[in-house]
């Protein structure tokens, strides 16, 4: 969702998704990585926007909703203004049910409206919040991303970004213990599948007569488990 304070128009778009290991540091690095690829300025972290994002996430848990607008009529801009952030442009992206930071950003990049928000050159600052809670009776991790361009200080801010804030060296390598565990689990499933196929091949080659189950069915079963794993690990887009 984007909003320009000087115009009445705004557009909407949301990525709504279980985060089990998402950090704001990784999110900002991923988002800035996408912006840099497109030759855009990286966004700087703003504590006020971060607090606004946190309050928005808390509000969604408190009033049990999953939307840009609250049931009480509250808008994302209310949370930004409440922190004393005077913006010229502002935008919001939401996500839930994702396992990793990279998946969140990938899902946003796959959605035209969210992608537009991330790659909007007018934005100079960003704030993220990753908050755990219970939403609609289910344990959920919400990710709220709020973009902003401070009112009247856009050029100043850009200069500041270029001059001070951006360090092009990535210190984050994209592999956490959880991610490694998840990938090893997938690898284990693939190995199990291969073992079944090799077993089937040698049983065929050696013309073995065995009292066993259907190896082919077991292989199919593991393919389905792998597919299910990939489906459930991915968040949802609303």
């Amino acid at each position: 969702m984007i909003y320009k304070s000087t115009s009445a128009g705004f557009s909407t778009g949301k990525v709504l998704g279980i985060a089990t290991h998402i950090t704001t540091q990784e999110l900002i690095q991923e988002v800035n990585g996408e912006r840099i690829k497109k030759g855009l300025y990286p966004l700087t972290h703003n504590p006020k926007l971060e607090k606004a994002a946190y309050d928005k996430a808390k509000n969604m848990f408190q009033y049990n909703y999953w939307a840009h607008y609250g049931p009480d009529g509250s808008t994302p801009w209310d949370f930004i203004r409440a922190e004393g952030y005077e913006y010229e442009y502002a935008g919001e992206n939401l996500a839930k049910d994702f396992m990793f930071s990279q998946n969140v950003v990938d899902a946003w990049m796959a959605s035209p409206t969210h992608r537009e928000n991330i790659l909007r050159d007018r934005y100079t600052e960003v704030g993220f919040a990753v908050v755990d809670g219970t939403l609609q009776g289910l344990p959920t991790t919400l990710v709220v991303q709020i973009f902003g361009t401070p009112f009247l200080t856009k050029n100043e801010s850009h200069t500041k970004v270029l001059a001070e804030s951006y360090t092009p060296t990535h210190t984050y390598f994209g592999y956490t213990l959880k991610k490694i565990s998840f990938n090893s689990g997938l690898l284990f499933l693939v190995l199990l599948f291969l073992v079944l196929i090799i077993d089937l091949y040698y049983a065929y080659r050696m013309r073995l007569v065995r009292i066993t189950g259907k190896t082919l069915a077991h292989a199919l079963f593991f393919i389905i488990i792998m597919t299910a794993l990939l489906i459930t690990a991915k968040g949802t887009i609303l």
């Binding site: 794993l229 489906i231 459930t232």
Partner: protein
Amino acid sequence: MSKKDSFIRYIANEIKIHIFEYLLLTTIAVFFVFLLSLFKGESQSQFIIMVFFAITYLAWGIIHHIIHHTFHLKIVIEYILIAALGIFLLQILLLL
């Protein structure tokens, strides 16, 4: 004909002989994946769906072997272990 080709033919032939059973298993699997995506984000519902799929797979195996007169306790244990391993991996990986 190479050994690889004849192995593929062997698998194709195996599927052809038991086409109805494999089609049934594939249909159940597709339905399972569809249900999982339908209940995306609802971990409790997804766990119940996984358990149902594992039980269905076990039932499929038992019925298949009864029909083909190859039913044996060892086979039942094999299917139980495979189904349990599937649920265990899926659940453990998702709860990490």
